[in-house]
Subunit: 228 residues, 2 copies
DNA sequence: ACAAAAGTGTTAGGCATACACCCATGG
DNA sequence: CCATGGGTGTATGCCTAACACTTTTGT
């Protein structure tokens, strides 16, 4: 599509490595992604996922963590390498190869900084994300596809929930990410049968409805077991 | 583990991008990987998978294809991005981030060049691969793990077989890669039930046994369907 | 005739799916 | 008392897994 222009910076004379992070949360009954509004031409007004160059003395994984912290405002969240995007013309500023990551954060863990909607950093529902800079549309689609797939065979969902949650909340995460309704009885039967979660005995009151039991995940580290 | 030394080449002053390719085939009742013997210190005598730097004017995908052609001696084979390895100290020569790929080739497609065993480029059974340079042991393990997983939900096996093959040969590919025996009747039932392959009507004669029908894959491009 | 690989069915148990009503609470 | 979300069981069909013998050929 676009041809790479003459490089504007010396360091772009060689291919350099950047990382972009698709940071997701589940809020307001939807899967949302964090985007930052760009100022630079030719992308003025378009949105991009948090990203930046990898420094010479940090690993690519560490760079992704740093960017998530500096630009996304979150730390200690689930972070997993997604795919590396290496088209020659993917960045009009020069030859940049991007190692993309997926990150997940429970909406309960978001600070005011990111929940308040600043003009230039905002959560968007994935379904109606605005025009994106670079190849970030492709990165976003790849990330969502992988997240959906992993929900089906790992315990990754725990990274979108607080440590204690109701089964309805868990089911809602699945429904929102997969984009389809699930049968309540079958969902509970399956989740309990495979031992994904355990009851805590506590319950959540406060709504005008029967109190719900609170559950927590059994295994904290990533595990692969057929779920759905 | 190792600290990065002072760079020996100017271009290593920045992180540069390389690609390494795990090229697999199934031969002699085993999963084999192509390795090249190294001459440079500190890896003299160790083996490495084909790899090299990404040039400024080629995509990362194209670089992997080129390396597979130049160093692996094969072209037009299945090639898929695996993972990007970005530890700071993974290359003692400088800061090199490697985008690793998995490639598959049917043993029937191998030229003499790679089947004859040169002193410095050889197929090794994955099970007893020699000491590897860089982080290539980790790359190899990641590649095998992914290959095993994908065998179970895609039609990827076709890239390890000629266009026509017997069901026993197909089963053997599965057994060799997964490292376990499968039940013949159940295997055939399943493979035929999901329509992965179709009979060609031809048969293979020549051995002192009943002739086997030849089959071919139905879909050529990658497809995801539950297989095993 | 024999060695070698190809080909073929049935059963039992487990798993996924479809489906509707009562319960406990807050307001 | 009513609106809201929480919680629960069964029946059916499908898929999986276990298991052994006959067929066809080349030598």
């Amino acid at each position: 599509m676009k041809k790479p222009q003459a490089s504007k910076y010396k360091k772009y004379d060689y291919a350099v490595i950047a990382t972009d992070v698709a940071l997701f949360t589940v809020r307001n009954r939807g899967l949302q992604v964090l985007l930052i509004k760009m100022k630079k031409e030719p992308y003025t007004g378009k949105w991009a996922m948090p990203g930046g160059l990898v420094k010479a003395n940090e690993s690519v994984d560490n760079a992704a963590e740093r960017i998530l912290r500096e630009k996304g405002g979150v730390r200690n969240v689930y972070l997993e390498q997604l795919h590396t995007f290496g088209r020659v013309d993917r960045d009009p500023f020069g030859r940049v190869v991007s190692v993309a990551y997926t990150a997940l954060v429970p909406s309960t863990k978001l600070s005011l900084k990111t929940t308040e909607e600043y003009a230039d950093i905002t959560w968007f529902p994935v379904k109606d994300a605005p025009a994106l800079a670079y190849d970030h549309r492709e990165i976003l689609e790849t990330a969502v596809e992988r997240l959906r797939a992993k929900l089906g065979y790992t315990n990754i969902a725990q990274n979108l929930l607080p440590s204690e949650f109701t089964l309805s909340e868990l089911q809602s995460v699945y429904e929102v990410v997969l984009g389809k309704k699930l049968d309540k009885r079958n969902f509970r039967k399956k989740i309990l049968a495979i031992g994904l979660v355990k009851g805590t005995g506590k319950e959540r009151r406060g709504q005008a409805s029967r109190p719900a039991e609170l559950y927590s995940f059994r295994a904290k580290k990533m595990k692969t077991i057929e779920i759905l």
